[in-house]
Symmetry: C2
Amino acid sequence: MSASLHAIFKRIRAEGYKLTRPRRVVIEVLAGGETHMGASEIVAAVRQKAPDVGRASVYRALELLTRLGVVQVSAMGRATTVYMLTPACCHHHLVCVECRRTVELNECALRDLEKSLASRFGFQVQGHLVEIYGRCEACQDNPGSAPL
Amino acid sequence: MSASLHAIFKRIRAEGYKLTRPRRVVIEVLAGGETHMGASEIVAAVRQKAPDVGRASVYRALELLTRLGVVQVSAMGRATTVYMLTPACCHHHLVCVECRRTVELNECALRDLEKSLASRFGFQVQGHLVEIYGRCEACQDNPGSAPL
DNA sequence: TACGAAGTGAGATGTTGTCTCAATTATACG
DNA sequence: CGTATAATTGAGACAACATCTCACTTCGTA
């Protein structure tokens, strides 16, 4: 699914950051849980594995991991941010704007684009996220019935 | 840039929703401001044009407009959601994870994919958003110096 | 023009994210 | 293998962001 935990740990050290308990546990939680989790879910899961880890450290870990490209943040088409480990291979989301149900795709239309960006803008690409918004089959008939 | 305001207003009525003052002003603000705005910016701008509009109505309008595909929400690679009018044509973001500076692209690698999704999943595509994460040229040398 | 449903404003409430600072800990080095 | 030290942490205050409730207003229809 994504890079092995070991590889991620190594990466953190290689970038000059310490591999601390909060960081380790956050990564483990993200790797073991749903494909994408809300902040509160992550905090809860982390504190179940390691009750002495503070909330702030979870956010700080997510911040760092996002900067390193290990974690991606998405609004999933609404004003609720979710976090996920950056998938090793390309990964698109089909997000229903009514019910928020999500289909994950494993195809990629962007490999070539990504390469050209590096040379044209001097941009160091870490990964990308594609979100396609619309209504899933179920919600085309009864819009406005979103569960949340 | 995006569909004309008039077309959006028509669309709201066509979907059976009322074209109210808060909704009109939110759309005008999004059309007139930066390409993407934070929630608080939008609220401030709306209240400048129409001081009697409540905060909740701004959020409600954004919610509706998102469901209609008129507005898109993005986390811009971090835990801060921004809102923008859905661009008429394809629109990619290059988001720097260090400083959050953003480059906008006007090319599209997804037209074909989008079509095939409609038939394969019965998904009614409204639009898509591509976010490519990495470090911009300036931030490759001094990571960790993000302004926010 | 009057009616009814949809939408609204205000502010309480809930959630999410950030900050500060003394105490702790991971790593490099002797 | 200890020790120095700079990075990191935990707790909880704080701030920002988002949602909810409910009495009142307004849009669109007839």
